[in-house]
Assembly symmetry: C2
């Protein structure tokens, strides 16, 4: 029973999140239907990140088992054929070890949050960015973000419905930079609490518009109280860009073109 | 009667091109409705580039006259309010001289053509890129593009329905580079013939996949014959990114945030 892993990209807009739900469009539901389409197998896939409604991914990773052995490029192309015209694409596929799990073998997850920071609303990037009209000071946001790096109790930045056993996580990267009219926030951690990235982003924006200081962000973290969180950023600016594993699945980006 | 100029961004997908047509959705039609909405004036706008169906713009420029004087930021915000929820945004507005024309005062136009060059179809960039599965050699394309630079008779790369008086144009920039999974082509000229950018792009792709040599591209140009053109690239990868003027309209990107 070979195990397959796929690198998956999707636009989260038409989906009620990644996780399968009866009678609702989900990314998982569409991927499982594509697998059923080409293989005839009804199964459940495992994913590295259960993204929320409207959240995008360029580097989601999934795993599943099939009774038959297919060449990885055949799996990729066959799934993509069944996914048309949905905004979901299998970028790469690989055969992995039986004990490899997209969820439990992941050693790191990286997210990009994009803010469009100008007066005019987004036209080309509608649904892909959070529109913040007030001018943001990226340097203040970057300074404030430094306080979030490291091992902390992130209760303040955790949704009240979060299921994680512990609110303690280690944030490895929290970078903020201006890219033209946009502000890009990059966060990396072994794993994140529910809505943690959006909660941290919304709170850093409070600092970026001058309503909070960097010290206020630090105090919010230290409060370990959900009520100390600033606003929660909307889903459309968020994208799961990268998941790391040791060892990495054999996604050979251009091998079988 | 003050004259206004606006810097406009749009996603071309829902529109039958820029130019107004009765009973069809066009970018011009939507912009003129937005002007009517806030000012009560029914008028025709002038644009720097009449983009085709499905072609995008991040830097389109328009001009129009209004009997009343408004602050430029008021024009921008009012038009954007009337444009919601369409994927058209007025990035900036300015008051310009009475003899300034978005069309006739333009001294240069720049287009970006984006190709997604991988096996998997686009998910996040659906409708924004041309999907070419075969691997493209960007260096061969860049070499071939060199032959197009300069003053030439571009009959080969001109749509048979092109209305321009002369097929002779001067191409100032023709750059090709790989950007991750994408190939970006940038073209700049004082003005372009109808479908010239898409005709040149499609022909350069013939070289990129190895079907043509750079010398074949040169011979196609020199043939001055539409039948010598390679394929014509589809509209979705094309974006009007920049129009230059001397002097430039006073678009102060972040002045009135």
């Amino acid at each position: 029973m070979p195990r397959y892993s796929c690198l998956v990209e999707y636009d989260g807009r038409p989906y009620k999140g990644f996780q399968a739900q009866d009678n609702l469009p989900t990314v998982q539901g569409s991927l499982e239907r594509a697998i059923l389409g080409f293989s005839g197998e009804t199964l459940r896939i495992t994913a590295a990140g259960r993204t929320d409604t409207g959240v995008h991914a360029s580097g989601q990773v999934i795993t599943f088992d099939l009774p038959k052995t297919y060449r990885p490029d055949v799996v990729r192309d066959a799934m993509n054929a069944y996914l048309i015209p949905e905004p979901i694409a299998v970028r790469e596929a690989a055969i992995v070890d039986d004990d490899f799990s997209a969820r439990f073998s992941a050693t790191g997850r990286m997210y990009l949050y994009r803010i469009l920071n100008r007066r005019a609303p987004p036209a080309l990037e509608q649904g892909r960015v959070w529109h913040v009209k007030k001018p943001l000071d990226a340097e203040v946001m970057a300074d404030a973000a430094q306080h979030l790096i490291g091992r902390h109790d992130f209760t303040t930045f955790r949704d009240t419905e979060c299921q994680a056993a512990s609110p303690i996580k280690t944030l490895d990267i929290a970078r903020v930079k201006r890219v033209g009219e946009e502000i890009h926030l990059v966060f990396a951690s072994r794993s994140f609490l529910h809505r943690q990235v959006r909660s941290m982003t919304g709170t850093l924006v409070e600092a970026g518009i001058g309503r909070w200081t960097a010290a206020d962000v630090k105090a919010a973290l230290e409060a370990r109280d959900r009520r100390a969180c600033g606003q929660v950023a909307p889903p459309e600016g968020l994208c799961l860009t990268h998941v790391t594993f040791e060892p990495e699945p054999d996604f050979e980006s251009r091998s079988s073109i």
